[in-house]
C-alpha cells in the first residue's frame, strides 16, 4: 500500500471539490505538484492536465480521461449500475465509500465501456485515482472482468488506463481474489487472439500490478509514473535503506525491460489509434 500523498485529489469540476468555496470553477487555480505554479483549472483541463509551465502530468479522473481520449460522443458506458458492497462489514468502510462516491460523482473506482479513437472501435477501462486510492474493490474486479468477457464476445481489443494503490483492504479476501478473476478474463480474451493495450499511469502498484495491469500485449506508461509491486515506503522499511533516484519510475521499468514504451500524454491518442489499426482484422492481408 502506498502513501496517501501519491494520490492527490484532482482539483477539477468533475471530481467535485467538496468544499464550499464561492470560487467559480473557471476561476479556480491549481498548484502544480512539481513546479508549484498556480495554473487556472480551465487551462489545465484544456491541455489534458499537463502543467503549461513545467510539463508535469496532473492526475485525471476516470471519466475525464475517457472524454479526453476517445472520439466525441463515442463512449458508451457498461455496467454503470454496479456499486460496491461492504461484504465484510469492515469498520467505517460504508462511510468511506459514500464519501468517495460523493466526491467523485462515480459509483466505483473504474469506468468501463466501448468507444472509438479515430474511428477504431475498442473496449476500455479507466481507473479513478481518487476513489479510495484507486483501490481494487470486488466490483472494480467484476467490472474489469465483465469488460474483457464483453470484448472477447464482441471481438474487440481492450485499452485500459491503470492507476491504483492496489487491493482494497476493506474488502479483504474478496479484493485479493479479483487478481485471479481478472487474470482469467484477460487470458480468455488473449486466447481469442485479441489485443490488449494498457497504459500505466501514476501510480500503479500492488495487486493491480500483480494482475491485469502487467498482462497486456503492449504495456505503455506515462512519463515518470510510479509503477511497482510494493510501495517505496514499504521497501525502504524492509531494506532499511534509501531507494535510488528514479527507482520504480516508468523510465526505470522500461530500462529493466517491463514496459514497451513511454508515451507523453499528448501522443497517446495517436499511438493508441496506430496500435489499434495495426491489429485490425485483415491488417496483415
Amino acid at each position: 500500500m502506498l502513501s496517501r500523498k501519491l494520490f492527490k485529489k484532482p482539483k477539477n469540476r468533475l471530481e467535485g471539490e467538496a468544499d464550499s468555496t464561492v470560487m467559480q470553477a473557471e476561476e479556480r487555480r491549481v498548484a502544480c505538484p512539481e513546479c508549484k505554479a498556480l495554473v487556472p483549472h480551465a487551462t489545465l483541463q484544456a491541455q489534458a492536465y499537463v502543467c503549461p509551465r513545467c510539463g508535469a502530468l496532473h492526475a485525471m479522473s476516470a471519466r475525464e480521461r475517457i472524454l479526453w481520449l476517445v472520439d466525441e460522443g463515442s463512449f458508451h458506458e457498461l455496467d454503470s449500475n454496479l456499486t460496491p458492497i461492504d461484504r465484510l462489514g469492515f469498520p467505517s468502510y460504508a462511510g468511506k465509500l459514500s464519501k468517495a462516491q460523493e466526491e467523485s460523482g462515480e459509483q466505483e473506482g473504474v469506468l468501463t465501456g466501448t468507444a472509438t479513437i479515430q474511428g477504431h472501435p475498442f473496449a476500455l477501462f479507466s481507473m479513478n485515482p481518487a476513489f479510495i486510492m484507486g483501490s481494487m474493490g470486488a466490483i472494480v474486479g467484476e467490472k474489469i472482468t465483465r469488460l474483457f468477457e464483453y470484448a472477447a464476445e464482441n471481438r474487440l481489443p481492450v485499452v485500459g488506463y491503470a492507476v491504483s494503490g492496489g487491493a482494497r483492504i476493506q474488502e479483504g479476501i474478496f479484493s485479493l481474489m479479483q487478481m485471479a478473476k481478472t487474470s482469467g478474463a484477460v487470458l480468455r480474451h488473449s486466447e481469442a487472439g485479441l489485443l490488449y493495450v494498457v497504459v500505466l499511469t501514476h501510480p500503479t502498484t500492488g495487486g493491480v500490478v500483480a494482475s491485469f495491469a502487467m498482462e497486456a500485449d503492449v504495456i505503455l506508461a506515462e512519463p515518470k509514473a510510479l509503477i511497482g509491486f510494493a510501495g517505496p515506503r514499504v521497501i525502504e522499511q524492509t531494506m532499511r535503506q534509501k531507494l535510488p533516484q528514479g527507482f520504480q519510475r516508468a523510465e526505470f521499468l522500461m530500462a529493466k525491460g517491463f514496459v514497451d514504451r513511454i508515451v507523453p500524454r499528448n501522443a497517446q491518442k495517436h499511438e493508441l489509434a496506430q496500435l489499434l489499426a495495426l491489429h485490425q482484422r485483415g491488417a496483415m492481408a
Binding site: L88, I139, G141, M179, L187, F229
Partner: protein
C-alpha cells in the same frame, strides 16, 4: 485478543510444521528441481516431482525454514520473482507430462525489496495467475500456515483451495491493515477480526472448499488424512475432460465478489 488473532499467531507459531514436513509426510520419492532457468534458484520456494499414493505429481511449496539459519537462507518464506518463475516452470512441466499439481502455501507475502522490484515481482505473480487459470492439469492448493496476499495467491489459483484449521489467508497482514486503516500497527488483533481471514470465514465465503482439523496437533495423523483426500480428489478431477476442468476453475473464481444482488 480476538479469536482471529489467535489463529494468526497459531499460523505463525514457532515449531509449526512447514512445507517440507508435509512434502515428506504426504508424498514419497520427492525429487527436488531447482531454479527458474532465467536468473536464480529461490530457496523460499521448493518444488519437484514426487509420488502421491504411487502416482506422479508435481509438488510446489513455499518454505519458511525451520531453524534460524535455514529461515535466513529461505528468506522466511518470502519469495522473489525467481521463486514464482520456478513454480510456473514446474507447473508447465507438470502440464506437459499430464501430472496433477499440489501447491503448499505458507508465506507472509512476496518479498518487498529492490531486487524483487527490479526483476518484476508484480509481473511474476501476474504471469502465474494467468497461467494457473489456463493450466490443463488438476491443481490443488493447500494453505498450511500464512496465506499472505498476492505472494500466496500466486500459488493459489487452483481447482480446490483447502486450508488447515489454524491457517489464515488475507489480502494484507493484520499489522499492515492496522497501520494503513487505523495508523496503528498495534491494532493487529482488531484488524484480524475485521479482515475475516480465518479458515472458517473463508469457507463461509466459498473461497475455500475444505478445512482440515489439525487433529489437536497430531500433524502425522493430519498428513494421513491429507494424503487420502488429495488422492480421492485427484482421481475425481482427473476424470473430467480438460476443457471442463479449466472451465470449472474459471467459473469458481468468476463467482467470487460478483454482483449477486
Amino acid at each position: 485478543m480476538t479469536e482471529a488473532y489467535q489463529r494468526v499467531q497459531a499460523a505463525r507459531q514457532k515449531g509449526r510444521p512447514t512445507a517440507m514436513y508435509y512434502l515428506t509426510q504426504i508424498f514419497t520419492d520427492f525429487l527436488e528441481m531447482h531454479g527458474d532457468r532465467r536468473f536464480a534458484d529461490d530457496p523460499a520456494i521448493v518444488g519437484g516431482i514426487a509420488r502421491l499414493a504411487g502416482k506422479p505429481v508435481t509438488v510446489i511449496g513455499i518454505e519458511k525454514g525451520v531453524d534460524t539459519q535455514e529461515k535466513i537462507a529461505r528468506n522466511f518464506g518470502s519469495a522473489h520473482p525467481e521463486g514464482y518463475r520456478k513454480a510456473l516452470r514446474l507447473m508447465k512441466q507438470a502440464e506437459k507430462f499430464g501430472r496433477p499439481v499440489v501447491c503448499l502455501i505458507d508465506t507472509s507475502g512476496a518479498y518487498c525489496g529492490i531486487g524483487a522490484e527490479e526483476r518484476g515481482q508484480g509481473l511474476a505473480i501476474a504471469e502465474n495467475l494467468m497461467a494457473m487459470m489456463g493450466l490443463r492439469v488438476p491443481v490443488i492448493s493447500l494453505v498450511i500456515g500464512e496465506g499472505g496476499s498476492g505472494g500466496a495467491l500466486a500459488l493459489g489459483v487452483a481447482d480446490r483451495v483447502w486450508m488447515l484449521e489454524n491457517a489464515v489467508y488475507s489480502v494484507i497482514s493484520p499489522e499492515g491493515a492496522a497501520s494503513i486503516v487505523w495508523k496503528d500497527a498495534a491494532k493487529a488483533a482488531e484488524a484480524s477480526e475485521a479482515l475475516k481471514l480465518t479458515a472458517s470465514d473463508l469457507y463461509g465465503f466459498g473461497v475455500v472448499e475444505r478445512v482440515f482439523s489439525e487433529e489437536d496437533g497430531d500433524f502425522a495423523a493430519l498428513c494421513e488424512k491429507l494424503r487420502e483426500a488429495l488422492t480421492t480428489e485427484f482421481t475425481m478431477l482427473s476424470a473430467l475432460p480438460t476443457e471442463e476442468l479449466v472451465q470449472l476453475r474459471y467459473d469458481k473464481f468468476r463467482r467470487i465478489g460478483g454482483d449477486e444482488r
